[in-house]
């Protein structure tokens, strides 16, 4: 008898297992192939816009992805350096094998986790509670909770050109029976599709025809806690080239072979990474598309062709690739392909990622209709954390839109109708100016610590940082300098009146160095991170405070829980459309209800009245 069974050792499954193990729960991590733990089947990169925010938040609460990505990173880039702190993001090229190895090693050396090979065929359910799993080879495992993190494996079907066959990922077995088990329990499933580009042999690329792209020395790291020293491997370049009219003509001529045209694929794929076929079809006016050539690792010649995703027949793929400058002689060593898979329509989950239908059954990752390693990992953590907390009788870890990107992700998943695999963007977070990478620790460390996932030292470090920030801001409010002193150092300020350093800091042209200069030595003892926070808080105070006001306004609605057994059709005054939508989504809170498409403000007023009437 286990406490928790996690099905699938991908990015979601690993974080789920770590979270359970942190709370000392006996955790079984079942996976189809033990050689493919924490695999990165698509691009060799972690982070990027919106995604790096997710990893930092995960790290702030005690998750593992950030730490491992820092270690396995081979190129670190800070995106949007010229923009404000809220929209900067870290993106890292990853040595895939290194990442897998480190993650697997961590799993194997973590107490309370047992990693085991096995394909789950069926869930064992007792009434409305899950009690374990049955594997394809007849093994039965019992547990108090089950977390399904099976990625693209449920009835996975690979498509290349006119060929298609069942597989979880290329070369891996699918999970053919779990879907049946889920649908027979009443879960609603649908299908999505995603695709990956071909990989080519490094030696066959003419790099002289490409533009070299290196990382940033000062890009920083994902983890707030462990900052490994970067070695030589930390800045391995990637390369940029472009498609051209030859590429586009060739694709256009052969478009009938593209599965998106032939009809073999008719499910929705992610619009943020369309195949080159689709780009040529939808944007005929564009004469070139970028192709990023990225290393898959240090010990391999495999190069990933970001931008050339395709599931055209294999023989055409190489021809297409060879039209691109620098890739004229490139040999494909792994073809691109599309994979179609079952996902759970995620509005069947609560904020805890526990299913509404079956108690103690959780879902996380790509099976919930998301795309991306990062999106998967954070869900794994939330599901693992809540499965454990529930077993221990503790209060759940619920992340809402106003606390984190993770909250935005979960709220979107369980509230919206997905029409494509879900990817995070900063623009999805309405409180983006407050939910920054740089303050993820300050926002979430206490939550992670109190729930038992973040180590004490890390939490202490955060508390100290917070105190230092507060004290620095107070100091700057207390010190007023004479205009002469300010103007002498920065003549263009043209000050006439004495001014508080705090107010001076608000000016766009005044930076940390200036303030330190005026402070003389009183600034000693405040670290860079503390200064940076003080600067952001002071400079953008107006904007950030406005977001706090917005958050405050919606708080009561967000806190207003709706009982799960409500019969919306009994409520007079709701429109029929709203009754249907609400019955389908069964929102956890009034706040969530207000975000369901088709539910109007007056529906919410009526709902509120009905709920208060009880």
């Amino acid at each position: 008898m286990y406490d928790v069974i996690v099905i699938g050792a991908g990015h979601a499954g690993c974080e789920a297992a770590f979270a359970c193990a942190r709370l000392k729960l006996n955790t079984l991590l079942l996976t189809i192939n033990l050689d493919k733990v924490a695999l990165m089947p698509c691009n060799p990169a972690i982070g990027g816009m919106g995604k790096s925010q997710l990893i930092k938040e995960l790290d702030a609460m005690g998750g593992q992805m950030g730490k491992i990505a820092d270690l396995a990173g081979i190129q670190f880039k800070l995106l949007n350096q010229k923009k404000g702190p809220a929209v900067q993001a870290l993106r890292t090229q990853i040595d895939k094998k290194e990442y897998e190895t480190l993650m697997k090693h961590l799993l194997e050396t973590t107490d309370n986790i047992l990693l085991k090979q096995g394909t789950v065929a069926k869930l064992l359910v007792d009434g409305i509670k899950v009690k374990g799993v049955l594997t394809e080879d007849g093994m039965q495992f019992l547990a108090k909770a089950v977390i399904i993190t099976s990625g693209t494996f449920l009835r996975g079907r690979i498509i290349i050109g006119d060929k298609d066959y069942y597989a979880g990922r290329m070369g891996e077995n699918p999970a053919m029976n779990l879907t049946k088990s889920l649908t027979s329990l009443g879960f609603e499933m649908d299908r999505f599709q995603t695709a990956t580009p071909p990989r080519v042999d490094k030696r066959s690329i003419d790099f002289s025809k490409t533009i070299i792209s290196s990382g940033d020395e000062e890009a920083g790291s994902f983890s707030f806690w462990a900052c490994p020293k970067r070695g030589e491997r930390a800045n391995i370049p990637s390369f940029l080239t472009y498609t051209n009219s030859k590429t586009h003509d060739l694709i256009a001529q052969n478009i009938k072979y593209s599965p998106i045209r032939s009809g073999i694929i008719n499910t929705h794929g992610p619009r943020h990474c369309p195949s080159i076929d689709r780009k040529v079809l939808n944007f005929p006016q564009k004469h070139k598309h970028p192709v990023f050539i990225e290393p898959e690792g240090v010990h391999t010649n495999e190069m990933y062709l970001q931008g050339l995703t395709t599931s055209m027949p294999f023989y055409l793929q190489e021809k297409i690739v060879n039209t691109v400058e620098g890739l004229e002689k490139a040999s494909i060593i792994r073809p691109g392909y599309a994979v179609e898979y079952d996902y759970l329509i995620p509005c069947q989950l609560n904020y805890t990622l526990e299913s509404k239908l079956i108690e103690n059954l959780y879902f996380a990752g790509q099976i919930n209709g998301t795309s991306g390693y990062e999106e998967a990992a954070v869900q794994g953590f939330v599901a693992g954390a809540n499965a454990s907390l529930k077993i221990l009788g503790k209060k759940p870890l619920i992340l809402t839109r106003d606390t984190s990107y993770i909250g935005v992700l979960i709220d979107d998943l369980i509230t919206k109708d997905l029409s494509e695999p879900y990817r995070m963007y900063t623009s999805r977070a309405e409180y983006r100016l407050f939910l920054r990478s740089d303050n993820a620790d300050l926002r979430l460390a206490t939550l992670g610590f109190e729930a038992g996932f973040l180590e004490k030292e890390a939490h202490q470090k955060t508390l100290k940082k917070q105190q230092a920030i507060d004290s620095l801001i107070k100091l700057l409010k207390n010190i007023t300098i004479k205009p002469q002193k300010a103007n002498r150092y920065r003549p263009n300020l043209k000050l006439k009146e004495p001014i508080r350093l705090y107010d001076l800091f608000k000016r766009p042209q005044v930076n940390i160095g200036d303030i330190k200069y005026w402070l003389d030595h009183a600034s000693n003892g405040y670290g860079d991170g503390v200064w940076k926070q003080a600067e952001i808080i002071i400079k953008y105070e107006g904007y950030i405070n406005r977001q706090f006001e917005e958050i405050k306004k919606t708080k009561k609605l967000e806190k207003f829980a709706i009982p799960s057994n409500i019969d919306y059709f009994r409520f007079k005054g709701l429109t029929y459309g709203a009754q249907e939508k609400l019955s389908r989504k069964r929102p956890n809170t009034l706040g969530q209800a207000s975000r369901i498409a088709g539910v109007s403000p007056s529906d919410i007023s009526i709902l509120l009245l009905n709920l208060r009437r009880k």
Partner: protein
């Protein structure tokens, strides 16, 4: 930065609300109700009593006489303020009722002063909703409340749809589209930085924001031009005794069922009545005076009605068409020369003794209306002519440009403010996400008017506009 402009369609928070009070069968004028924790503070901040007492010092269910003072310290109106303290009020919150002395203008001014001091404009049915939530109304009444919210919401939607029609609706929707377009460019340059997209340069987006801001300002300006319509048009009916002023008034009043109330006018003992002509409130000045002229005190009547010419926006000059005009008629016509006036030739049923055209009076053919108050003919022509006078002759068609209710006006003012913030942020070369934060609020606010609440429209637009996917 103003925190009031945060857009949020529904409130659980029991903040303080204000509205112009309505009772069935009564005009939406004359009384401003404030309810909530801050009601007393809000009211005290705009009120100066005659005896020096504040509302806060009052006992529940007592009244206080005094004046409403605006931001510049000027007297808006004389009022009587009533206080009902929590829980002895309709909403079970502190409720202050300000009974204004005058017509629509002072009432709306008092309301907007309340909003300036922190009250929020009440949603339809919100007082009743609070009454229910606070246990004032019992359960059996709950469904009526729900119906009320529904119908009121529908009604306000209908009003939004009907009143905001034609040009203004299009204009607001088009401003909103313009904002979304800028947002698309800003967000594309933020979230898709790696894609190397050809986004519009920042400086150009700033200019576009400036243009949108001007358009919003124009709407607000038009709105104040339209204030005359919203607040009512003052009409004086003048003419020597026995030409039929009183009969005409009675006819207008009777014909127009929308007549709602007699209210004490701004002049000491004059009485105003309101009638609605084509949706425009006409405030007929000194109806008491008009009616009195029918009695023996003729002389006073004439002088008195002439005394109101100055306050009138429109003057109806009534003559008896069955007789020759005499010196008294010409005397009055001489006094209204500079006014916006209509010549009403009454008693046409008796046949016409005078060819008025030949007299060369200062009224164009459109401003010369022939009626019979007795036989009830020509009234439509008269109403049409009044309407035309108010709405202008084609070149100034205010009807389409007026922001109908307080709520919309407030929204437009808030939009102006956030657009200014966005423009400043862009001018200061702040990073894109700041201007974006302002613009998102602006598009949300305008969406409240146009009914667009699309959640994902910016991302949707990015995907359809740009070739994403490296």
């Amino acid at each position: 930065m103003n925190k009031k402009k945060i857009n949020n369609m529904f409130y659980i928070e029991e903040d303080t609300i204000a509205a112009i009070g309505t009772k069935p069968g009564e005009a939406a004028i004359g009384i401003v109700k404030i309810s909530g924790k801050e009601a007393i503070r809000v009211a005290d901040s705009i009120f100066r009593s005659k005896n020096g007492k504040t509302i806060n010092e009052l006992k529940s269910y007592s009244l206080l006489y005094g004046e409403i003072i605006d931001g510049r310290g000027e007297v808006v109106d004389e009022v009587i303020v009533g206080l009902m303290r929590n829980p002895y009020s309709y909403t079970r919150e502190d409720v202050v009722e300000i009974n204004t002395h005058g017509g629509i203008t002072p009432t709306t001014k008092v309301l907007s002063l309340c909003m300036d001091r922190g009250a929020r404009l009440a949603e339809p049915g919100e007082f009743t909703k609070r009454a229910f939530l606070n246990g004032r109304i019992d359960l059996s009444q709950a469904e009526a409340v729900i119906d009320l919210i529904n119908s009121k919401t529908e009604e306000s939607l209908k009003i939004a749809a009907n009143n905001i029609k034609g040009n203004i609706k299009k204009e607001i929707a088009s401003i909103r589209d313009g904002i979304v377009e800028i947002l698309v460019q800003l967000e594309a340059s933020i979230d898709f930085i790696e894609e190397d997209l050809e986004t519009t340069p920042y400086e150009e987006l700033r200019k576009k924001t400036g243009v949108l801001l001007e358009r919003v300002e124009q709407l607000i300006k038009d709105e104040s031009k339209g204030e005359i319509i919203k607040n009512g048009v003052k009409v004086a009916i003048v003419g020597k005794p026995n030409v039929g002023k009183s009969s005409l008034l009675n006819l207008l009043v009777k014909k127009d069922k929308a007549i709602v109330t007699s209210i004490p006018g701004t002049t000491r003992d004059a009485v105003e009545e309101i009638i609605y002509v084509g949706g425009i409130p006409l405030i007929i000045i000194d109806t008491a005076g008009i009616r009195k002229t029918a009695s023996s005190v003729e002389k006073i009547g004439v002088e008195r009605s002439l005394g109101h010419i100055d306050e009138a926006d429109i003057v109806l000059m009534v003559v008896d068409g069955s007789r020759k005009l005499d010196g008294r008629d010409f005397n009055i016509i001489g006094k209204i020369e500079n006014k916006n006036s209509i010549l009403v030739i009454n008693k046409v049923d008796l046949g016409q003794k005078e060819d008025i055209k030949k007299l060369g009076l200062p009224f164009g053919p459109e401003q010369t209306i022939r009626v019979s108050a007795l036989k009830k003919t020509g009234i439509e022509d008269l109403e049409h002519s009044i309407k035309k006078k108010v709405l202008g002759n084609g070149e100034l068609n205010l009807e389409d440009k007026i922001i109908i209710n307080q709520r919309h006006k407030k929204i437009m003012q808030d939009v102006r403010e956030v657009l200014q913030d966005a423009e400043t942020a862009m001018a200061n070369k702040l990073s894109e996400e700041f201007a974006s934060a302002d613009l998102k609020i602006a598009s949300g606010l305008l969406g409240e008017i146009t009914g667009d609440t699309a959640r994902e429209e910016v991302l949707e637009n990015i995907f359809s506009r740009f070739c994403i996917g490296k």
